[in-house]
Structure formats: structure tokens, C-alpha cells
């Protein structure tokens, strides 16, 4: 049953985020089309200094190959730097707790995870990482991967909008993402979080004697607020603490909880509106927004309607409703932060979390969410658009064989990198190394692990238990392939589309509500067709087995 609490929370969060995102999208349009701004007086010199230091010509338009190459090199460079920081943190400053370096496989997993905007964590941050690692490896990659995602999203949108007749310049998009979007927003968010009770300190972890005689506790106070701000804004999701936003110092109250939920929705939502603004027809943005939010809303509704098991695994101050909202939102926006333990949820909630990650576009992560939505639009238009009796076209551009090929390749990446390692994991018996059996629960958790990795989500069941060479390396590969291969394909499509002839006439009205309905249907069907048997073997089977064990009363498939 939907309760008043459910509706209240959703209304407050959605309403605020949607309104603010609309304004942000207008700001982003200015940022990425180079419109003059009052901030230019301060930021232009800063940006020019960065260009000068790095030797960048930010005015040169790049083709998709160059855009991708520069993007990949930069992300690789950043990952390598972070890798060394993590491995050698014991010899580096800002390590008052004297933590030793990570093992190579864990460091590899961690940098691949954070540089791919996944933030799967096979470690507990407060017990493993020095301040420097938290700041210069983790938080650093959270900024850069979000900037990369934002740049890609903007480049793809710019290509489809076609006004610039190019996808742009990666360095320009990346630097401006940082200087004009992520750093200023993170600055504001950090201050708000600090006032809400999230620590921001660099003075070590004191052990204090607590109230009851003889009891002590370690107070993990570190640069948490600055990290949480970008982790949420950048749909990164990797927390300062192993328990992520279930940990009270990362998420002290209901208010901070809702604020953090809103933060992760903010930029992805505004990019959907930005699409309409760049195309020059807000209805096109509305289509992406409505489709994404419809899927997100359906997931939420299913999660709310199923009985949420409150208690074990959930934080009391946050409660079942906000925990469910967070879990659905964190997977819908492929953020991956958690404010509760996944094992505390009904399998139906897990099923909706799977949908969020398998779809990746409802509304998905910063930048790439919009990118995946456009991929679905292309596949959908081609799949059903022929029925209009015309060669399918989007925004006046005819969809060609090469576009279909690339969009299908981007779509295919996901099932391959999820299913192949899942099968391999069970074939080599890897489930037993993380304490799981070859049953529905074991399957759900391993399948979830790779789905989360592939979707660059990062939420998981395994946590620090996943720190085995197999899972570190396997999920590491999956995260990078899942991140960069679809980006490559979609940049190629966008670049091709950017210069293509456009018809002013539009046969298939993609700005219409009926198209939204068809798009939502199509996204669900494509996802179900690809993953139905595996969802059946995982959460559905868990649910059916649970029902047999007498939870009962819930009808599957609402």
C-alpha cells in the first residue's frame, strides 16, 4: 500500500529536484555553448591558465575518435595516479592513522571503479584509506569521472542537437564541467552537509571513552562532507565509510538523507532538460525526462507497493520509506551509494534496483544517463518507427545502418559484460570464496555484483568480502568496458549525426506524449527480453521461494 509518507517524500524530493534542475539546465546551456556569463571574469582566466599549463587548444573541434582518445588517455592517467596513491599511501603524507597500502588487485579494482564512475568498493574506507587517499584518489576520481560523464553527455547531446555541427572539444567540456558545474555545486553542497552534521576534518580518528564505564569508540572524522557532496552530485556513490550513507556521519538525519537523494538526481535530470534546450525544442527534452521519470516512478511504485522489511539492515532515523526511495533512486541514477543494507530489502525492491541498473537510463548517471536514453530512442525508433511508413528519423535526421549498428553494439555491451563474468564466476566456483552458495540468493548477489559493475552503479552485496583477486579483476574489467565502450559507440553516432542533413519535417513526433509511452514500453520490453531468465533465477525466484516460506500477501508483477 502506498502511504501518505511515501507520497509526501516523493512529492517533496521530486518537486524540488525537477524545479531546480530546470534552472540548472538553463545554466548548463550557457556553460556548454560558451555563452557569456558574469562568472567569466573570474573563471576565464582560471580556465585559460589550465589550458596553458596543459597545452590545450580548447577551441578545436574534435571528431569522435579524437574526443574518445583524449577522454580515454586522461581517465587512464588519472586512474594510474590514483593507483599509485592507493598502493603507496603508507609512504605518503596525510596518513595519521598509519594505514598500509592496498594490495595491487584491490587498488586496481578501486581505481577502475572510481574512474569509471562506478564506485564499487571492496574495502571499508574508514578502515583502509588515509586522508590523502580519500581526497586525492577517491574524491579526485569522483570529480574527474563525473566531469568526464558530463562532458560525454553534453557532447552526445550537442551532436544530436546538430546546431554546432560537431560534438565539440573534450578538454573544453571537461574543464568547464569542473570549474563551472561540479566544483561550484560541490562547494555549496559541502557547506550544507557540514551544517547538517557531516564532518570535515583532517585531525585523525580519536578514540573516545563513551558514556558507559569501560566502553570506547573510534570517531572517524575526516574530510567526509567534501567527498559526499561530489559522490552524490556526480552519481559516483562511493562513500567515505564502508557502510556508505547508512553510516550516520555520512548521513546524519532525515533532512540530510533527502538532500543527498536530491543531489544525485540533480545533474542527470537537468541534462534531460538540457537536451531539449540544445535541440531548440523543449518537447524533445520533455520526452527524455518523462520517459526516464516514468520508468523511475514505476520502479518506485513497485518497490513501495511491495512490503518493505523494516528493521534488520535499515537505519532507524531514515526509516523504510526513505530507504526504499534511496535504493530505487541510487540504482535508477546509477549512483550506487546506499543508506541501508541491500539484504534488508524484499526481493521485489531488489528487482526494481536491477531494473534501474539494467536500463541505466532511468534517468541514469551524470551525462551517460542521457546518452543511454538517446541510445534507447534510436533503437526504439528503428524498431517501431518503420511502421510509420517512413525511414525512421530522429530530430529530422534519418537513422542509418551505421547508427543502428553502433546503437545495437552499445546495447549489446551490457548483457555481454554482465552475463559472461556471472557465468564464469559460477563455473570456477568463485561464489564460495565470498561465502555464497550456488542458489537463488547466491545467484542474485553475484548477478547483482556484475550488473552493478557494468552499469557503473557501485551498490553491492559483497562489500569488503568481494576483495578477492577474481572479483577485483573481473569487476574491474567489467566496469571499464561498461563505461567506455558504450561511450565510444555513442560518441561515434553523435558525431555522425551532428553533420548530417536535417529535415524540418518530422513524421514521427518524438516530442509527443504518445511517443513517451511507446519509449517507456520499448525500454521495459528490451530489458525484459534481454534479462528475463536471469531475473527469474535471481530476485523473482527468491521472491517466490520467500512467498512459499509464508511472507505471502504480495502479488508479483504489480
Amino acid at each position: 500500500m502506498l502511504t501518505l509518507e511515501d507520497l509526501f517524500v516523493v512529492a517533496v524530493v521530486w518537486g524540488t529536484v525537477i524545479v531546480l534542475s530546470w534552472f540548472l539546465s538553463s545554466y548548463l546551456l550557457g556553460v556548454f555553448t560558451g555563452r557569456k556569463s558574469r562568472l567569466d571574469r573570474i573563471l576565464v582566466p582560471v580556465e585559460n591558465f589550465i589550458y596553458l599549463l596543459a597545452g590545450i587548444d580548447s577551441s578545436k573541434n574534435m571528431g569522435w575518435k579524437e574526443y574518445f582518445k583524449t577522454l580515454l588517455y586522461l581517465n587512464a592517467g588519472e586512474a594510474i595516479l590514483a593507483f599509485f596513491i592507493l598502493m603507496f599511501q603508507q609512504s605518503l603524507p596525510l596518513n595519521p592513522m598509519h594505514y598500509s597500502g592496498m594490495s595491487w588487485s584491490l587498488a586496481l579494482n578501486t581505481v577502475l571503479s572510481f574512474s569509471s564512475n562506478t564506485n564499487l568498493q571492496h574495502y571499508n574506507g574508514e578502515l583502509t584509506l588515509s586522508y590523502l587517499s580519500q581526497m586525492s584518489a577517491i574524491q579526485f576520481l569522483q570529480f574527474t569521472s563525473a566531469a568526464t560523464g558530463l562532458a560525454v553527455g553534453v557532447a552526445v547531446i550537442r551532436g544530436f542537437a546538430g546546431k554546432a555541427r560537431t560534438i565539440g572539444n573534450f578538454y573544453y567540456d571537461y574543464v568547464r564541467s569542473l570549474t563551472r558545474v561540479l566544483l561550484p555545486l560541490a562547494f555549496i553542497a559541502t557547506i550544507i552537509l557540514i551544517f547538517m552534521g557531516v564532518p570535515q576534518a583532517l585531525s585523525g580518528y580519536p578514540t573516545v571513552s563513551t558514556l558507559q564505564k569501560g566502553a570506547t569508540e573510534i570517531l572517524y572524522k575526516g574530510p567526509v562532507a567534501s567527498l559526499v557532496s561530489i559522490m552524490q552530485l556526480g552519481t559516483n556513490g562511493g562513500g567515505y565509510f564502508g557502510a556508505n550513507s547508512a553510516y550516520p556521519l555520512q548521513n546524519p538525519s532525515q533532512l540530510s538523507d533527502l538532500f543527498e537523494i536530491g543531489m544525485m538526481m540533480f545533474i542527470p535530470t537537468s541534462l534531460l532538460f538540457l537536451f531539449g534546450r540544445m535541440v531548440g525544442d523543449n518537447r524533445e527534452g520533455r520526452t527524455l525526462f518523462l520517459a526516464a521519470y516514468a520508468i523511475y516512478g514505476i520502479d518506485l511504485l513497485i518497490a513501495f507497493l511491495s512490503t518493505t522489511v523494516i528493521g534488520r539492515g535499515l537505519e532507524v532515523r531514515i526509516g523504510g520509506v526513505a530507504s526504499t526511495l534511496w535504493t530505487v533512486t541510487t540504482t535508477a541514477f546509477t549512483t550506487g551509494s546506499l543508506n541501508a543494507s541491500l539484504s534488508g530489502f524484499n526481493p521485489v525492491v531488489i528487482l526494481t534496483a536491477f531494473f534501474g541498473m539494467l536500463i541505466q537510463a532511468a534517468p541514469g548517471g551524470v551525462g551517460v544517463g542521457a546518452m543511454y536514453l538517446i541510445m534507447y530512442v534510436i533503437v526504439t525508433i528503428f524498431l517501431v518507427g518503420l511502421m510509420a511508413g517512413r525511414t525512421p528519423e530522429y530530430l529530422g535526421v534519418k537513422i542509418e545502418g551505421s547508427d543502428v549498428k553502433l546503437a545495437v553494439a552499445a546495447f549489446l555491451t551490457h548483457p555481454i559484460i554482465i552475463l559472461v563474468p556471472t557465468v564464469v564466476a559460477f563455473a570456477i566456483g568463485a561464489e564460495s570464496t565470498v561465502g555464497l552458495a550456488a542458489n537463488a540468493t547466491g545467484f542474485t548477489r553475484i548477478f547483482y555484483e556484475f550488473t552493478s559493475a557494468a552499469a557503473n552503479n557501485g551498490s553491492d552485496y559483497l562489500g569488503a568480502a568481494g576483495n578477492t583477486v577474481f572479483f577485483n579483476v573481473a569487476t574491474g574489467i567489467v566496469m571499464w568496458v561498461g563505461r567506455f565502450l558504450p561511450i565510444l559507440f555513442m560518441l561515434a553516432i553523435a558525431d555522425g549525426v551532428s553533420t548530417r542533413k536535417r529535415s524540418q519535417k518530422q513524421g514521427l513526433k518524438t516530442g509527443s506524449i504518445s511517443f513517451v509511452v511507446i519509449l517507456v514500453f520499448s525500454i521495459f520490453i528490451l530489458t525484459v527480453l534481454t534479462f528475463f531468465p536471469f531475473l527469474v533465477l535471481g530476485p523473482v525466484l527468491q521472491f517466490l521461494q520467500g512467498m512459499k516460506l509464508s511472507i505471502g500477501g504480495v502479488i508479483f508483477g504489480l
Binding site: 509518507e5 509526501f8 517524500v9 599549463l53 596543459a54 597545452g55 590545450i56 582518445k69 583524449t70 588517455y73 586522461l74 592517467g77 588519472e78 586525492s136 584518489a137 574524491q139 579526485f140 574527474t144 566544483l183 557547506i191 557540514i194 551544517f195 547538517m196 552534521g197 557531516v198 564532518p199 570535515q200 576534518a201 583532517l202 585531525s203 573516545v208 571513552s209 563513551t210 558514556l211 558507559q212 564505564k213 566502553a215 569508540e217 570517531l219 572524522k221 574530510p223 567527498l227 557502510a243 547508512a246 553510516y247 550516520p248 556521519l249 532525515q254 533532512l255 523494516i310 539492515g313 535499515l314 537505519e315 532507524v316 532515523r317 531514515i318 523504510g320 520509506v321 543508506n339 543494507s341
Partner: protein, 147 residues
Amino acid sequence: MKGFRNLSTAARLTLISVVICGLLFPIIMTGIGQVAAPWQSNGSQVYYDGKSIGSDLISQDFSAPVFFHPRNDSASGVDPDITLTYALSQVPRIHNATGIPESFLNATLEKYTQYTMFFFGTKYVNVLNVNLYLMESFPSIYAPYVQ
């Protein structure tokens, strides 16, 4: 040569990014936090007799029967709160151990009740705050149990 140029640009931009995002930003934010909101920035610590007795936000090990007990299963493991229902279920035990009237205990819980949704939703209490209140109200009863 062009490939090398790309690599060199990537390396330089990596260093610029890490300085800005991985050092300057968190250090500046720490400075601002320590100045503007030092209590929160340092973990919302509760002081008793001028001495920190831990964070308001982190559950403590209350095992003596005179205290309200926290949960021991929890996502974070340090959940500072318990539901009002769970707190009420502990009232008879504390009454038996301390002799504090149940009505007082119930009133205390009511005083400290919070809602998961600001003014509605599930009711809960912060264990440390309740115990601290009891201790301050009945110092002689609690003296043997505290630091």
C-alpha cells in the same frame, strides 16, 4: 608525435585536476568547515564534564541493564537510534534495574521522540540522548555505571 602530445596533455591535466579536486578543494572546505561549523565538522561530539563522550550520531556500547540499549544489527552497525517501540519494550527492564518509575521513563521517551519524516512516519529516539538525560536526572543511580 601527435600521440605523444595527447599523452603529455593527459598527464598534465591529470596533475592539474588532482591539485584542484583532490587537494585544494577538500582542504579549503576543511578550513571553511572548521571555522564556520566546528562542532559538526568534528563529528558532532557530545561533551560531559568538558570531556568528549563520543558522537551524537554514533551508537555507543550500552550493555548495562540501567541503560536503553541500541540495536546490534544494523546496516551501519553504529545506528544511534532505536524505534520507539523497541525503546518502550526496554522500559520494564530499566525500571527493574533502577527503580525509576515507568511513567518517568515513558515521559522521557516521549520527550525525545523524533519522526522519520519530520512530523510523521515511524517514531524513534536517540539512545545516547535518552541515557544522558536519565543520567543527568538520576546521577546517583547512574554513577557506578559511567566513566
